[in-house]
């Protein structure tokens, strides 16, 4: 049975992920950034991950930019990547559906690493998403499969290792990679 993940565990994992990304950035030869936070989180606020967003509000080591749309989040992420900055997106499944052309045109065709955390809002605890009565839950994984976007699901605290793994995967394959947040974070 799926379990909710505490926000502090996700925040700590994101910090570790960005620390690793900054080390890789330094090894690549990028100069020190003119800021002292670890990385950028581009968010269109997701109800499913609201405890994480609330915790991020108090977190100085991660810079959150709230975007009006997921299209903007993806294109802004592309700009940050080109400029050598570690970045990720935090959105909801509805935002994935809304921004499919940008996912295709920027992350896929542009071969730009883009790591997403996508909340499966309204996903039933006792059901596989494929069996959800909500189309927005049911179609997220098939949509990612259609576009050959690698994805994994966070089904509990033991799965947070997937966050750095899929961040790295987005960098290795130069394209999008997604972790879906199975249940609402706590």
């Amino acid at each position: 049975m799926a379990e909710s993940i505490p926000a502090p565990l996700i925040i700590d994992t994101l910090k570790d992920t960005f620390r690793e990304a900054r080390a890789a950035r330094t090894a690549e030869g990028w100069p020190a950034s003119r800021h002292d936070f670890l990385g950028w989180i581009l968010s269109v606020p997701d109800t499913h991950q609201k405890t994480v967003l609330a915790a991020l509000d108090k977190e100085d080591s991660l810079r959150v930019i709230t975007c009006a749309t997921e299209d903007e989040a993806a294109t802004m992420a592309a700009g940050l990547y080109m400029g050598g900055e570690p970045v990720m997106l935090m959105i909801q499944h509805a935002g994935l559906y809304a921004s499919v052309n940008t996912l295709r045109g920027v992350a896929m065709d542009g071969k730009i690493p883009m790591f997403y955390m996508i909340g499966l809002l309204s996903r039933e605890k006792d059901k596989d998403p494929k069996e959800s009565r909500h189309s927005m839950v049911r179609f997220a994984e098939p949509l990612l499969d259609t576009f050959s976007v690698p994805h994994a699901r966070l089904e509990g605290p033991n799965d947070v290792h997937l966050i750095p793994e899929y961040y790295r995967l987005s960098r290795q394959r130069k394209g999008p990679a997604v972790v879906l947040v199975g249940l609402e974070t706590i």
């Binding site: 030869g29 009006a68 299209d71 903007e72 993806a74 592309a78 940050l80 400029g83 920027v106």
Partner: protein, 191 residues
């Protein structure tokens, strides 16, 4: 008399210094002829994305100016980017809007509202540091040095005629992923 887009682009090319430029749609073919360098990345294939992409570059590289060459039809596709950019406060971003009132590439159909849409008021209301309309090439050339040094985000609505070419009549140029890699490499090498 409306500004000829190619003339505005030539003025920018002469004054830009080490600025990163982000053309989109009808400025793309002319820009690759006027400034065939690897400090530019064009946005074609995801119309509307230039403003936020430029903002991302500006946030990542605060030591450089970033100049977006947006279109009015393009900006309408991600109009919320005005508020997103104002909220993110990239101090080194210049957002130039080449306003011609039409979707030139698809056959010059009017954009919603045509030339009556007031993007300056929208940018100002969204919270840009400054926003203005410029209607002549002479005025643009006169203000360009200040636009390249003043605190941003700055929004400029340039009243332009149609470009000579569109991405459909002048295909070619480097692929988007090549531009991405070359810009990234150039920025890395310039450390």
């Amino acid at each position: 008399m409306a500004i000829k887009p190619e003339e505005a682009l030539k003025a920018i090319a002469a004054a830009r210094g080490n600025a990163i430029c982000v053309p989109t749609m009808t400025t793309s073919p002319a820009w690759r002829e006027i400034a065939p360098d690897d400090l530019s990345v064009g946005c074609v294939g995801f119309m509307g994305g230039a403003s936020a992409m430029g903002a991302g570059l500006a946030l990542a590289r605060p030591e450089r100016r970033v100049i977006v060459f947006d279109g009015d039809g393009s900006l309408l596709m991600q109009l919320g980017s005005l508020a997103t950019i104002a909220g993110a406060r990239p101090r080194n971003l210049v957002h130039l809007l080449f306003k011609n009132g039409v979707y030139h590439t698809s056959g010059s159909q009017d954009i919603p509202g045509g030339l009556t849409v007031d993007f300056v008021t929208m940018a100002r209301g969204a919270g840009y540091k400054s926003a203005m309309a410029i209607t002549t090439l002479e005025e643009f050339k006169r203000k360009l040095p200040e636009l390249l040094t003043a605190e941003g985000p700055i929004f400029v609505e340039l009243h332009t005629s149609l470009a000579d070419q569109t991405p459909m009549t002048a295909r070619g140029g480097r692929s988007f992923p090549d531009q991405v890699e070359q810009l990234r490499s150039k920025l890395l090498a310039a450390r």
